[in-house]
Symmetry: C2
Subunit: 318 residues, 2 copies
């Protein structure tokens, strides 16, 4: 963790290394609004929009961006400009907990970048957001300046509605920005972390207590698997329960291991997993893991995928 | 199947569509010779060498190329030129059956190409090879002109050593080239087919009869799974048995299904599968199948792989 925030102009790592940035925004239903967001982001030079994954029940979208630290900062500022026009937390109701219109903004090092680069990018972006939009910003995970702010769940407890009371406490002075919740944007959490897999398992029951029990069993904080965060939610649109999970380090607990455990716990609750979705993107190593487990070999890599090698050759040839 | 071979100059599909070509060559041990092959292929303009996978026990390498029909024809001719200098079948001993220094040359349609394009490319290349190198060439699979030449196993039966006797029979006049086995290159089989997965499962036994029994059980032709070809082989370098398989249509029998069956049959033979390797490349749909089976959802696609999307953006941006 650095002691003082770098100036917003100086946040590019010398190598121009590539970072991923995965803002989660509190809009998952309005296709017109999301189309406007895509256009806004497409207009930022050098910014790569890799994916946009909305969820109607969560009323939340996962935006996956890539670029240099400077480009991503500009992209996040464009995202905030869009949010001031399209998101009003006072009217936001969705099953997923949130404190902000732009709820969380994690930076992830890609090839050529280090976690220190990602932390520097987070700090520069946090400072820029706070200044431009006049809202409280908290640094979390690898960018956290205090241990009690490391976990998103701890910062987000009480949600948007409970934040004014939280802000009044001396312990909760923001890392950047005013000591006043923004009326429509709320607050924002910015940080740096390793790749995270967002996995939602739908259960064959409408009973959300079953989903919560499964979540409790797999969640690291309540005695479950390493690196697993989990919530039990009810999906209005489908009338069924869902275990919504984050796998924060797939090298410690694999996707295969996690899903096997979820299935076992679901059966223990008298139900079963209907299907599981991966939200947003994940690294090849994580997504090839089930195949490697089947082959009992780590030898297989993404460069054995035909279309991958074609893309590689294509990007070299030009 | 077309009735007359197109002239070699006219084998490009009008769209310039991309094809894959996967020659298997009878050299899997000599790194210097294989390095010379790579340099030879790199010198062919527009040819993309996607992969080169040698196998010491099989004494065979799988070369994965991509390009237009014309480019691939030039690549295969360069491959043959290399083979005349580096491969002499009279001295070739490996556990994998072969009839040629360049044993088989399948063309596979990629995006924008049809099977008819692949067949046309096969015919044009077959004609060019026969003319330039004066050896018998047989068309197989989708390019076959007679039903008894559809399957590679039927053309290859008797191997290189038994081919002079085979060629003497009226039924085995080649599709192109002289009625005389080339002294060092043998004969070559050229054709067109769908993607094929080459999968080798190592067993925890040195007993090759166990591997042959497993092969017999999973092989379609002997009552096994649809689209599966299999051989039981002994690997000198490892001192163990191997079930060497081709999955000719992973949409009919999936990799998951095939490997589950191999494991069950291995146990039935009192042994087990130690590990499995995929040789060469395979399409994303086939390699993501174990993950999709785990998720119980076909929704996940390669565009959810971070590095894939980055490659896509990279190849577009330039």
């Amino acid at each position: 963790m650095t002691e003082s925030p770098p100036s917003a102009a100086a946040i590019d790592p010398p190598s121009g290394a590539l970072l991923e940035c995965v803002p989660n925004v509190s809009e998952g239903r309005d296709a017109v609004a999301l189309a406007a967001l895509e256009r806004r982001l497409a207009a930022v030079p050098g910014l790569r929009l890799l994916d946009l994954a909305p969820d109607r029940d969560h009323h939340r979208s996962v935006v996956t961006l890539a670029g240099t630290a400077e480009t991503l900062r500009d992209g996040v500022l464009a995202l905030f400009a869009w949010a001031t026009e399209h998101v009003d937390l006072r009217h936001h109701r969705g099953v997923h907990p949130r404190v902000g219109a732009v709820d969380v903004v994690p930076f992830v090092p890609l090839a050529g970048a280090t976690m220190a680069d990602a932390v520097a990018a987070a700090e520069g972006t946090a400072a820029a957001i706070a200044e431009a939009f006049d809202l409280p910003v908290y640094l979390y995970e690898e960018a956290a300046r205090r241990p009690e702010r490391r976990l998103l769940a701890d910062i987000r407890r009480g949600q948007f509605e409970g934040f004014p009371a939280k802000l009044a406490q001396p312990d909760w002075a923001p890392d950047f920005g005013p000591r006043r919740v923004h009326p429509t944007l709320g607050v924002t959490v910015v940080g740096a972390r390793f790749f995270l897999l967002a996995v939602n398992a739908r259960l064959a029951t409408a009973d959300v207590t079953a989903a919560r029990a499964v979540a409790r069993a797999v969640r690291e904080a309540t005695g479950g698997l390493p690196g697993v965060r989990a919530l039990g939610l009810f999906l209005e649109s489908r009338g069924c329960a869902q275990v919504s999970m984050n796998l924060v380090d797939f090298r410690r607990t694999s996707l295969v291991e996690l899903l096997a455990r979820v299935e076992a716990e679901a059966r223990g609750q008298g139900t079963e997993v209907v299907a599981t979705e991966l939200v947003g993107l994940a690294p090849a190593a994580a997504l090839l893991e089930p195949l490697r487990a089947l082959l009992r070999s780590d030898a297989l890599g993404p460069r054995q995928i035909v279309e991958w090698r074609l893309l590689e050759e294509e990007s070299r040839a030009r």
